[in-house]
């Protein structure tokens, strides 16, 4: 990691932020602000917000590593002033003390608390901006979904595109990480509904439907792909408070089905074992992959099973890999993905395994021929 050249105290804080934050904060670049370019002391953080990233430059000073860092926000957030100025706390509104106030550079968790504090303030800043828009529908939407927790919203406007407001609504109040036994995810997995409303300042009888899209954290794809979910249509005059409950119900059923399909896949892999022998390698958590060693007389090869998340509706993808033939690059010869075998999702797991076995008995002969041919071409 490039953080090696940061002053040790700063590096400790950055590493703590990257490893301990529940958000998946990323470092975009690290650079130097000193005359000596080897002393790096500033970096750009990519902080997840509203299903996107915001870029903040964190400015330390290698000459004074004990001093608190400064932050430069994105150019479009020039009105974001997170910390109250002394003497401005009139009217009895006293903001909580910032973590910058008594900066202790020896405490590695300080940068994390600063970034989280600023991000929370940024969420309320964006919420306030959206709330100030003269748009009746948006005002109504905000007032009706106010009780839902974790909603983030932001304004997006550019010179060449119309003003829009983007909502990110966390769905399903269940802990997806706990649904999967032995789950390897470090970050909390979540599915969000992204709703983009065009801003209409004038009153219109039939406002256009917003663009809706499901977004999930990237690691969730191995269990459940949100692209496969068919969203219900947004009817005229509908609002989010109406749309969300039914949508959430169908989604919940689909997620539970996806979790249950782990068991189905596991039983399928187990059913393969009596025919193919113990798997050489298998994915024990999501049961999406398994590899078996097989032989036809002296021809030995590996069979890779890639089991889709929609199993058993979709059949596994098979790939054969020779243990005896290498191609010109020195890697083992692989067959193309095989899916053109007979399949029915209604079969028992043992029957599925038997059918695949029968298919492979035939197929491995043509694969052997294919391997020999590719060897001949090399000479």
């Amino acid at each position: 990691m490039a953080a090696d050249t940061l002053p040790p105290l700063v590096a400790a804080q950055l590493n703590y932020l990257l490893t301990h934050s529940p958000l998946s904060v990323k470092v975009d670049q690290i650079w130097s602000g000193c005359k000596n370019p080897h002393l790096t002391d500033r970096f750009t953080l990519l902080i997840p917000f509203c299903l996107d990233y915001i870029r903040w430059d964190v400015i330390y000073n290698a000459q004074f590593p004990l001093a608190a860092p400064d932050v430069i926000f994105a150019a479009e957030d020039e009105n974001f002033h997170p910390i109250a100025i002394d003497g401005e706390e009139e009217g009895g509104v006293h903001k909580p003390k910032s973590s910058l106030c008594d900066w202790n550079s020896k405490d590695p968790s300080r940068l994390l608390s600063l970034i989280h504090e600023l991000r929370d303030l940024y969420i309320s800043y964006q919420r306030k901006r959206v709330g100030e828009l003269e748009d009746e529908r948006l005002k109504f939407e905000i007032s009706t979904i106010f009780s839902r927790e974790g909603i983030e919203m932001c304004m997006s406007s550019g010179t060449d595109k119309p003003e829009e407001v983007r909502f990110s609504v966390p769905l399903l109040d269940m802990d997806l990480n706990k649904l999967v036994q032995g789950c390897p995810w470090r970050h909390q997995q979540k599915i969000y509904l992204q709703v983009i409303f065009p801003v209409t300042r004038k009153y219109s009888v039939a406002p256009s439907a917003p663009r809706v899209k499901l977004v999930s954290s990237s690691e969730l794809k191995i269990l459940f792909s949100v692209e496969d979910v068919k969203l219900p249509p947004w009817l005229d005059g509908m609002c989010m408070a109406e749309y969300l409950p039914t949508m959430e119900e169908t989604l919940r059923a689909q997620v539970l089905e996806a979790v249950a399909s782990i068991g189905v896949r596991r039983r399928f892999i187990e059913a393969l074992a009596p025919l193919f022998g113990r798997p050489v390698e298998a994915d024990p958590v999501f049961c999406r992959k398994a590899t078996f060693l097989a032989a036809s007389s002296v021809f030995t090869f590996l069979v890779h099973f890639v089991i889709p998340s929609q199993f058993p509706k979709q059949q596994p993808v098979l790939m054969l890999q020779s243990s005896q033939h290498l191609n010109t690059q020195g890697t083992p010869v692989m067959s193309p993905a095989l899916t053109d075998y007979r399949w029915s999702p209604r079969w028992e797991a043992s029957q599925m395994a038997e059918r695949i076995f029968e298919f492979l008995v035939e197929e491995c002969l043509s694969f052997k021929k294919y391997c020999n041919e590719s060897l001949l071409q090399q000479h």
């Binding site: 002053p7 040790p8 105290l9 400790a12 650079w31 130097s32 602000g33 000193c34 005359k35 000596n36 002393l39 002391d41 500033r42 430059d57 400015i59 000073n61 290698a62 000459q63 004074f64 590593p65 004990l66 001093a67 608190a68 400064d70 932050v71 430069i72 926000f73 150019a75 020039e78 009105n79 002033h81 997170p82 910390i83 100025i85 002394d86 003497g87 401005e88 910032s98 910058l100 106030c101 900066w103 020896k106 600023l118």
Partner: protein
């Protein structure tokens, strides 16, 4: 109206150049305060025929230009404010104390390398604190500050480009902080005497900058009798030093340069000049050597500081505040002073490190 809008900000070429030079020669980031004056350049010609469009813009918004004439660079960061932008009034008064007459405090600047040219979170806070109405830095009897009640709301960011391949090496951007709206408004910066716009000025040139302010005035005038004894002593000592260089050549004797004996004197005087030049040369040599030593020392300090930092992390027990005291700026004192300070600081730090084992 206590928050008047500036039309533009003007800065003289030498002032801009020396700010950039201070920033360029420092190892890290720097900040400092800006002095100058605000002038009202609203055209005073009164029109009899008050058109509807002219009257509105003329009457209530004077055209103001802030001119930056000098600055003080602290050579460090957080020099008069803390991490959340609260002002350290004592430090600020110290900075403002030595500015001389005719210069009011109109803003501040920051130099930070390879950063975007917009105010950071802390800089916004500091600027907002500076333009706070309750802030009372300038004594009320200061004639300039009272004539135009103008808050120190000018802020200039200096930076260097991210890419090394660009031709220019420094960039800057000036802002006026509008207290009423709480926003920074970018302002154009006119560098006086640079660019074609100023060519016309030379035809009608009249120097407007004040003569450099010298605190030690001439002691001959009668009304300065009340000066302290110390000052009189010092001036006497300086005079002695001067006399030593002149080697008996008083101003009075210069009159002998005219007339019949002039030839002898000329050769003697030339001899004196040669000696003085040799002395100057030696002095220049000394300065060169000591600057080399200062440079070496600064490099060593950077290395030491890094070591100290590593030491902090490894032991994590240190209650000592080496950095805090050690990093005090050796601000605008003369070259010899700073060399002396540096070596003192170094000795002190070295003994402390040795002591800690």
């Amino acid at each position: 109206m206590d928050d008047p809008k500036l039309q533009k900000i003007a800065i003289s070429g030498p002032t801009l150049a020396s700010i950039i030079q201070r920033f360029h020669s420092s190892n890290g980031d720097v900040d400092g305060v800006l002095f100058g004056h605000v002038t009202d350049i609203t055209a005073s010609d009164l029109q009899d025929d008050d058109g509807p469009d002219a009257s509105s813009s003329r009457s209530d918004s004077p055209i103001l230009v802030a001119t930056i004439t000098s600055f003080f660079c602290s050579g460090t960061i957080n020099s008069f404010y803390d991490s959340v932008g609260r002002l350290d009034l004592n430090a600020l008064r110290r900075f403002l104390g030595d500015r001389g007459p005719g210069r009011s405090f109109i803003g501040w600047f920051v130099g930070r390398r390879r950063t975007p040219l917009r105010p950071s979170m802390r800089e916004s806070l500091v600027t907002a604190s500076l333009s706070n109405k309750a802030l009372n830095l300038v004594p009320p009897d200061d004639p300039l500050s009272s004539s135009l009640n103008f808050p120190p709301c000018v802020f200039i960011v200096f930076s260097t480009p991210f890419s090394d391949r660009l031709i220019h090496t420094h960039e800057h951007r000036a802002f006026q902080f509008r207290r009423s709206a709480g926003v920074f408004e970018p302002k154009s910066v006119d560098v006086i005497n640079i660019g074609p716009a100023f060519r016309g000025h030379y035809s009608a040139f009249s120097p407007s900058s004040p003569f450099p302010w010298l605190s030690c005035g001439s002691s001959h005038s009668e009304d300065k009798r009340s000066d302290s004894l110390n000052q009189v002593k010092r001036i006497a000592k300086e005079q002695q030093g001067l006399d030593l260089c002149a080697e008996g050549f008083e101003i009075g004797r210069l009159s002998s340069l005219m007339g019949s004996e002039a030839a002898n004197y000329t050769s003697e005087l030339e001899g004196l000049y040669t000696k003085m030049l040799a002395k100057l040369d030696g002095l220049a040599h000394l300065v060169e050597q000591s600057s080399a030593r200062v440079f070496e020392q600064e490099n060593r300090n950077v290395k030491l500081r890094l070591k100290v930092m590593t030491f902090f992390v490894v032991s994590a027990s240190g209650g000592s505040s080496i950095e805090a005291e050690y990093c005090r700026p050796f601000s605008d004192s003369s070259l010899y002073d700073s060399a002396f300070c540096l070596s003192l600081a170094f000795c002190w730090l070295w003994s402390k490190i040795k002591h800690q084992g």
